[in-house]
């Protein structure tokens, strides 16, 4: 029939639907047969896990919103009502609350994997950039969510963060008033934060879709960072990676469950169990752990505007990472200098996180500044490293090194092509 999609499905009902709306073909193509490099390690689980985490956050959030009251007078009480009176309300809230921490944990590992194995390089620049956009959206959503329980840390955290925008010349104060919905943080602020906190996850969902579309155009990177040469290098997504992702998913659920059921308050601040009090500033205002490194960068710069620029710059610089890195080699496995730079960057994030958790006094000031310089130093050094570094020889193909290390023992010499190709022919 004219205009209808030619469906390969045998089942008449599926075929009828698929020829009009080829969802089955789409799923089968993108998640069934989708050719995926066969050499992924478990770092390649984290994107799928983050997607699951997003769905969990949306699901729990919808039910929390049914019981939450976004007013300054009642927000704190309504959260306690959820914890004490709503059936399994404590479970919904503890999953949602710790789900935010889980989300950042997954995302940070996911970003580390992208940086270590050079997943941001051509042709995956837009894939990477949508990912950075997702990170920014996630941070905004998490921040606004943290304000909703209207405890002391919610209120004062909101005060600190929204006031940052006041540093912007000319329009700063106007933006702050717009964020607050008035001239102080209060009911209108809470209303709009609640509304945006409900909206942004769906925006995130949309950008995740773009992220996945971009991924399925370029195909996945892999631990070797070399292109797929032939069908010998790939396996269909299903059942191979659905199975491997399921293993990662089980471990993720296990970690999540242990946190939610046994240590649900390990990420929370005691001060947030005190209702927001406009007249009393907490001893120390600290953001959640996942924002601490950026908070440290903010406070390491003595000038307010420059500090705000450094803080936002520390994330925005990721957008241009694909062009800062001049090396043609993707995977850090074959980049002796870059490998240690990435590991040092991770250590630096821990240093900054630790500085961010403490008052900016004594040695913390110096540590924070060193950490900030190292952070931006990483990106500043990248163009030169690509030029200076002598990469190790790349393997010929994805199947090649794997097979030779299996059969040779101690990574012996190359095998004849025929021998290497044989085991894959049945796949």
């Amino acid at each position: 029939m004219a205009g209808l999609h030619t469906s390969d499905f045998k089942n008449p009902v599926v075929r009828w639907i698929d020829s009009r709306l080829p969802l089955f073909t789409l799923m089968s193509k993108e998640y069934g047969q989708f050719p995926t490099p066969k050499n992924f390690n478990y770092f390649w689980n984290f994107g799928a896990l983050a997607t699951i985490n997003l769905l969990i956050m949306i699901a729990t959030g919808i039910f929390l919103a049914m019981n939450y009251t976004p007013t300054a007078a009642d927000a704190f009480d309504s959260v306690q009502r959820i914890m004490r009176d709503v059936n399994y309300g404590w479970l919904l809230r503890l999953v949602h609350m710790n789900g935010a921490s889980m989300f950042f944990l997954l995302i940070y590992v996911h970003i580390f994997r992208g940086m270590y194995y050079g997943s941001y390089k051509a042709p995956r620049e837009l894939l990477w950039m949508t990912g950075v956009g997702l990170l920014l959206l996630l941070m905004a959503t998490a921040f606004m969510g943290y304000v909703l329980p209207w405890g002391q840390m919610s209120y004062w955290g909101a005060t600190v963060i929204t006031n940052l925008f006041g540093a912007i010349p000319l329009v700063g104060q106007w933006i702050v008033t717009l964020l607050w919905g008035g001239f102080a943080i209060g009911d209108p602020t809470l209303h709009r934060f609640f509304s945006l906190h409900y909206l942004l996850p769906f925006v995130i969902f949309g950008v995740v879709f773009l992220h996945v579309v971009a991924l399925h155009i370029t195909g996945s990177n892999n631990p070797l960072g070399i292109e797929v040469k032939s069908s010998q290098d790939t396996v269909p997504f299903h059942p191979y990676y659905t199975a491997k992702d399921s293993v990662g998913m089980c471990v993720y659920f296990l970690v999540f469950a242990v946190i939610v059921f046994l240590r649900p308050y390990m990420f929370s601040e005691v001060d947030n169990n005190i209702p927001a009090n406009v007249l009393q500033t907490p001893n120390e205002i600290v953001p959640e752990w996942y924002l601490l490194p950026y908070y440290a960068i903010l406070r390491s710069v003595p000038d307010k505007l420059a500090g705000v620029c450094a803080m936002f710059g520390s994330i925005l610089v990721l957008f241009v990472l694909p062009w800062l890195d001049t090396s043609p080699v993707r995977s850090a496995r074959f980049r002796p200098i870059y490998r240690w730079m990435v590991i040092a960057l991770v250590a630096d994030m821990f240093l900054l996180g630790h500085v961010g958790a403490n008052r900016p006094e004594g040695s913390f000031i110096l540590e924070g500044r060193i950490g900030t310089v190292l952070y931006f130093g990483f990106f500043a050094a990248l163009p030169f490293v690509g030029w200076l570094e002598k990469p190790l020889p790349l393997p010929e193909s994805i199947s090649r090194p794997v097979l030779s290390s299996r059969s040779g023992g101690g990574g012996g010499g190359p095998l004849p092509a025929g021998v290497a190709a044989k085991p894959m022919e049945k796949a």
Binding site: D77, M83, A243, M249, V258, L262, F350, K426
Partner: protein, 260 residues
């Protein structure tokens, strides 16, 4: 791959080493006594000691509640520390709570019901301050969860903290010296003493015992979901361990045909 893991572990260890000394930054107070609480037993899987929590409720009911509200707790919640329905009804009925307006529109009172929240000792914050030398006794529903040190802090504050001030420290009228209170000067007079209550279960009511029991009850007030959460958690975690094992087996089997 192994190198990456080692590198990451190194970075984590470095980070943890840097952070560890500062996590428990002491506030110019002696170190808190580290007690082994019932909910911390069995690798943190412990449930709340109900006998202790019931004694703690008795202390709250007879002593603390004279000044402190506990507004998020309802009498029905006491089932969570093992009180029977009849006991809860009797406790609630012994309280006076605000009732509906009468025919002339005047406020009335009525005896409490299990569904009522704990009766407030004062009609409002101003009345509470005026009766307490200007200080507002904090609501105790979330008191324990809102203090660094949690139960250890509550125990130390009311059980051990009231000591003679060091030489040279002048304590103004209406304030009391407490080693564990930040700043040391607290408005609350020593609330507990040896033999202040007579425990229904015959336990000897020493100061330390009362402080321990009241901390246990305040833990329940802050985390009433503790027991149910842990019981459910153990089952879910056990199931997930099995599921992980099975899934890993399936994955191995699926991948067995692939040289990778």
């Amino acid at each position: 791959m192994r190198r990456v893991v080692i590198g990451l572990a190194g970075a984590l260890a470095l980070g943890a080493g840097l952070v560890a000394p500062y996590v428990a930054r002491a506030e110019e107070a002696p170190a808190l006594p580290h007690m082994k609480w019932s909910w911390q037993k069995n690798f943190g899987l412990g449930t709340i000691d109900r006998a202790s929590a019931q004694r703690g409720f008795q202390v709250y009911n007879e002593v603390c509640s004279a000044c402190h509200s506990m507004k998020y707790m309802a009498y029905r919640n006491l089932a969570g520390i093992g009180l029977s329905e009849a006991q809860i009804k009797a406790i609630a009925a012994s309280k006076t709570v605000p009732g509906p307006l009468d025919d002339e529109g005047k406020p009335t009172t009525r005896p409490g019901l299990p569904s009522d929240h704990f009766a407030d000792p004062f009609p409002n914050d101003i009345a509470a301050r005026s009766a307490n030398n200007g200080a507002l006794p904090p609501d105790q529903s979330l008191l324990l969860s809102a203090r660094e040190g949690h139960a250890d802090y509550i125990y130390a504050l009311v059980g051990k903290g009231y000591v003679d001030p060091p030489a040279g420290v002048k304590v103004p009228d209406g304030l009391y010296y407490n080693t564990y209170f930040p700043g040391h000067l607290i408005h609350m007079p020593p609330p507990l003493a040896d033999g202040l209550v007579t425990y229904a279960d015959g336990t000897k009511a020493t100061l330390a015992q009362e402080a321990h029991d009241v901390a246990t009850f305040l833990y329940f007030a802050s985390y009433p979901e503790n027991d149910e959460r842990k019981r459910l958690g153990v089952r879910i975690a056990g199931f997930l361990v099995l599921l992980t094992g099975v899934t890993y087996g399936v994955k191995r089997r699926i991948w067995s045909g692939i040289d990778h």
